[in-house]
């Protein structure tokens, strides 16, 4: 790729859909539809089933909903030279997009008025609000241009009112103006009742009459709308109060074809499933479907990888002026050339570089091991023998594996010298033939990322989260998180004088710093304000500390540990409350299906720490091991009042993973005593 036009243009500078204009929304759109059934919704906005589009901040809800809005449909028709009516008929839908934040819903409460009154007024307000959007789209579809036709449609629409307004002339334009005027009067009454003390509003329409009735009128009258769905897309559902959400849920329940609803909400945004229809709840897959965007992305890793790479390619193409043609772009984008990486194979020179020039016996891991063996009461000669047996001068990762095997044996009560001797043979054999079987390989395979992390840490090296694949994994299904990583990496790369995505590879240092910044951003940005926010962060901090201790322990009990399971029914309500908040704020990701308990056969809840948080505590990105906490342990971690209990638990957790005693009571410091047990 050529050098970018300006040193200061970061292709990933804009991470929010809101900061993109319609043209950018269109040009940066990446299609994620495919064969997988779960992804079908992405490509079928015309489905009659109401859908809740759920996702964490930055999952792409707004981009998706705006892409299917009528404004963007028109843009696409214009670009392709398609006549609007033909385009709509082909698409099979008209997207009517609105943001709930625009309603300023907080004003529909209090002010010395009853909740019932507010409920009626809010539903009337929404009716007027959506009808204006609908009439605007209607006009843009060229409906109402003919005076006679316009008068007939208007008369039909006026018939939907309980008390029709009087229009100067029967035109759709006049009707739209009248509805806007009705809304303004309602605004005035609502806003001023605090001063006047009274709120006397005449409600002229029964709920749903216009928003469901007008599409029916249009569909019956116009051939090109015969198979077209009118889709009300309500974004930012989380901004509505419980009572207001009940009203929208009622619309979902009572919707009439050819109308349906798409509702975008953050994970924590759904406050109720109940409706105003005798308080009944809407049932998933009966009254509505859900589209959990980031969860789907996490489940379909390969598709997400493809989607994410396309997303980045589009950004690079836009910033570097490279053609938008997918094939040409693919030829120009060379992922392996963009980022400096590390060869983490056990026999790679990169790993040897971490301990460059230091003989095995003086390497940090063996120096520490010597002290531990000495604590056990072994003589210096015995210790030297053990270290010598475990040494593999050219392969520091194998030395780490050897030590771990030794600690595992010691934990089982095996003689240390005998164990070291066996491990030495296994190691030599592995170096010789590299066989991918047996205890030695299996242990290395399981614990490789943890051992690499330890090797880095012990030698003052930084943890490596390098390359595009790791960035995508780290983003955990959140495109905005991925863009934020790349934005930070790009900034650091430029700061270091590099020419990212152009002449130079992006250095490991820039990647490391960018990833760290992005991780901190996520930690600060996703939390909820106030006491609950602090409680979430306290719990996540505790959990991460446990995982970190395990990762850097002499004998980790689980490999690549960032996941945990537990029996939900026995956990205290307070701890469960915080855990659910942490999930809704995307600090924790639920693993669908949970985990079956080996003993009781019960299905346990299973979660993992969001990958975006891993660099903050030097944790792995990939999930392998899962720790099964008891309900009492979950209480200690997630109940913010249990600080002292947690510190006790932490000490025990650490001791059980630390050589040479592994949490067992320390024996008197005598050679006899030690040998009695361990030799």
């Amino acid at each position: 790729m050529e050098k970018p036009p300006s040193r200061h243009v970061n292709p990933f500078g804009i991470t929010k859909a809101v900061d993109l204009n319609d043209d950018q929304i269109q040009s940066l759109w990446v299609n994620v539809s495919g064969n997988a059934e779960e992804f079908a919704e992405f490509a079928r906005p015309a489905s009659p089933m109401p859908t809740f589009i759920l996702g964490a901040k930055g999952s792409g809800k707004t981009h998706l909903m705006r892409y299917h809005a009528f404004e963007l449909q028109k843009l696409r028709y214009r670009q392709s030279g398609t006549e609007v009516r033909k385009g709509v008929a082909r698409d099979g839908y008209v997207g009517i997009y609105m943001r709930c934040s625009g309603l300023n819903s907080g004003r529909f409460s209090g002010k010395r008025q009853s909740e019932d009154k507010w409920s009626a007024i809010f539903s009337y307000y929404i009716e007027l609000w959506l009808t204006q959007h609908l009439l605007s789209a209607t006009q843009e579809l060229g409906i109402g241009g003919d005076a006679e036709e316009s008068a007939q449609i208007c008369a039909e629409i006026l018939g939907l009112f309980d008390k029709p307004p009087v229009l100067p002339a029967l035109t759709i334009g006049n009707l739209a103006t009248e509805i806007r005027s009705m809304q303004r009067k309602l605004d005035y009454a609502v806003n001023n009742c605090v001063m006047t003390g009274s709120l006397d509003v005449e409600i002229l329409i029964t709920r749903g009459q216009l928003i469901f009735g007008i599409p029916k009128i249009l569909s019956n009258r116009f051939e090109f709308l015969r198979d077209v769905m009118f889709v009300y897309s309500l974004d930012e559902f989380e901004n509505l109060t419980i009572e207001q959400q009940k009203f929208v849920n009622t619309l979902v329940r009572e919707k009439e074809l050819p109308t349906t609803l798409r509702i975008g909400s953050r994970l924590y945004g759904i406050k109720t499933a109940t409706t105003e229809s005798a308080g009944e709840e809407n049932l998933r897959d009966s009254e509505f479907e859900t589209l959990p965007i980031d969860q789907l992305f996490r489940q379909h890793k390969t598709r997400y990888q493809q989607f994410a790479k396309s997303l980045i390619e589009k950004r690079l193409a836009a910033a570097y002026g490279v053609t938008d043609n997918a094939e040409e772009r693919a030829n120009l984008v060379n992922w392996s050339r963009f980022f400096e990486t590390l060869n983490d194979e056990w026999n790679s020179g990169d790993l040897l570089g971490l301990v460059a020039g230091v003989p095995s016996k003086d390497r940090r891991h063996f120096v520490v091991a010597s002290v531990k063996l000495s604590d056990l009461g072994l003589a210096k000669g015995q210790i030297d023998s053990i270290i010598k047996l475990l040494s593999a001068e050219k392969y520091p990762l194998l030395e780490k594996n050897n030590l771990l095997l030794l600690y595992q044996d010691m934990h089982r009560g095996k003689n240390a010298i005998e164990s070291a001797s066996e491990i030495s043979k296994l190691c030599s054999s592995y170096i010789e033939n590299g066989a991918r079987r047996g205890r030695y390989w299996s242990n290395l395979d399981h614990y490789k990322t943890d051992l690499l992390a330890q090797l880095n840490k012990e030698n003052d090296g930084k943890q490596q989260y390098l390359g595009i694949e790791n960035f995508i994994t780290m983003s955990a299904g959140l495109p905005r998180a991925l863009l934020t990583i790349l934005r930070s990496v790009y900034d650091w790369s430029q700061f270091r004088g590099e020419s990212p995505f152009a002449r130079d590879v992006i250095s490991k240092e820039a990647q490391w710093r960018g990833v760290k910044d992005a991780s901190d951003w996520f930690y600060e940005n996703m939390r909820k304000a106030g006491q609950d926010g602090i409680a979430i962060q306290t719990a996540i901090e505790r959990l991460a500390r446990l995982f970190r201790i395990n990762r850097f322990a002499d004998k980790p009990t689980e490999c690549s540990l960032i996941a945990f399971s537990f029996p939900e029914q026995d956990v205290s309500p307070q701890a469960m409350h915080i855990l659910r908040l942490a999930e809704s704020r995307s600090f924790l990701n639920r693993i669908p299906g949970g985990q079956r308990d080996k003993n009781s056969e019960r299905v346990l809840m299973k979660f993992q720490l969001n990958n975006m948080l891993s660099p903050r505590w030097d944790l792995p990105l990939g999930r392998r091991g899962t720790y099964g906490f008891t309900a009492a342990e979950i209480d200690i971690i997630f109940d913010p009042t249990k600080a002292e209990e947690f510190e006790v638990f932490l000490l025990d957790w650490s001791a059980r993973r630390t050589a040479p005693f592994f949490g067992k009571q320390k024996l008197p410091n005598s050679e006899d005593g030690a040998q009695q047990v361990l030799l």
Partner: protein
């Protein structure tokens, strides 16, 4: 744009003998020197302390003198109750009122001024005292507990434009990045501008303010880098700057809904009120605020300059 700087602004020296007299003096109580020293020094026939529940005072720290207390949790209910109780004095003809906004909750202060104006009190004075310092410098948090709602302030709820594509949010950014984030998040889809206090109350306070605003950079998005400035202690310049900002933004792209959020000094908040009442009351414009459960009662030390601003609504309306 409108120029508000012709309105009167005077500095009162705390060491001087204050000779001006008012019929009624209203002040929001907290335990800082700058609030209590002014209350003691001012000459008024009647002095009222407004006791805000959000400061969570214990009975022991209550001031002597005429106090107004209420269990009302919202600004409108609180101020209306105060008006009901003191209706006779507040609506007497030609009453000369002075309000010290230094210790008042911003929403209460804004609603009180709006209500006075709507009830025909056309001219009154407003006092604002600057602190010598904030106790925790740039880490000073004025709000405590969590923000339970970001909503329009009563009396400042404008009409709503159905088209939200050109929504604009102007934040008077104070020390609390968390509050800036809450407001920016609430109007996530609006383009955002930041108004910083410069000159600041004290020389080092601008840097402290800028640091905290930078922390909210992600929520502010692109707009976080487009900063505007108005003196932290001058409501009239603040109103003028707001007027120019909105005019310029309207030229660039018509503003569909305007949201104003005064999170910085009370003097700047007063400027937001002045601008709103004068130019926005009939437009699709609102003042929004992140409401917290509690506020710290003592966040500043000492007293620096004391300002008196004269609001004359028949002239500006």
């Amino acid at each position: 744009m409108k120029d508000y700087t012709y309105l009167y602004k005077d500095e009162l020296l705390i060491s001087d003998n204050w000779t001006e007299e008012w019929d009624l003096f209203i002040s929001g109580f907290n335990s800082t020197t700058r609030v209590n020293a002014v209350f003691d020094k001012i000459n008024a026939q009647v002095k009222h302390w407004l006791i805000h529940n959000e400061y969570d005072f214990g009975g022991a720290s209550m001031p002597s003198g005429e106090r107004f207390e209420s269990t009302a949790t919202e600004e409108a209910a609180y101020v209306l109750e105060y008006f009901d109780r003191y209706r006779a004095i507040l609506t007497s003809s030609n009453i000369k009122i002075c309000i010290d906004i230094t210790g008042m909750m911003r929403p209460h202060m804004m609603f009180l001024i709006n209500l006075l104006m709507r009830r025909g009190v056309t001219k009154f004075d407003v006092i604002y005292s600057e602190p010598a310092f904030y106790v925790h410098r740039e880490r000073t948090n004025f709000s405590q507990g969590f923000v339970h709602a970001v909503r329009q302030v009563a009396g400042f709820e404008g009409a709503v434009n159905n088209d939200t594509s050109g929504d604009l949010l102007i934040i008077g950014a104070g020390y609390e990045s968390q509050l800036i984030e809450e407001v920016a998040d609430d109007k996530d889809k609006a383009r955002k501008l930041v108004l910083l206090g410069l000159p600041s109350l004290r020389a080092d306070m601008y840097q402290q303010n800028a640091i905290r605003t930078h922390l909210a950079g992600d929520a502010l998005g692109d707009g976080g880098s487009r900063r505007h400035f108005a003196p932290a202690s001058d409501p009239f310049v603040t109103a003028s700057v707001l007027s120019a900002m909105v005019q310029r933004e309207n030229r660039l792209r018509p503003v569909t809904n305007l949201y104003l959020s005064p999170l910085a000094t009370k003097a700047q908040a007063l400027g937001f009120v002045l601008f709103y009442i004068t130019e926005c009351a009939v437009d699709c414009a609102s003042i929004i605020f992140p409401f917290s459960e509690r506020y710290a009662n003592e966040t500043s030390g000492g007293i620096s300059r004391v300002w008196k601003y004269r609001l004359e609504f028949p002239i500006v309306c």
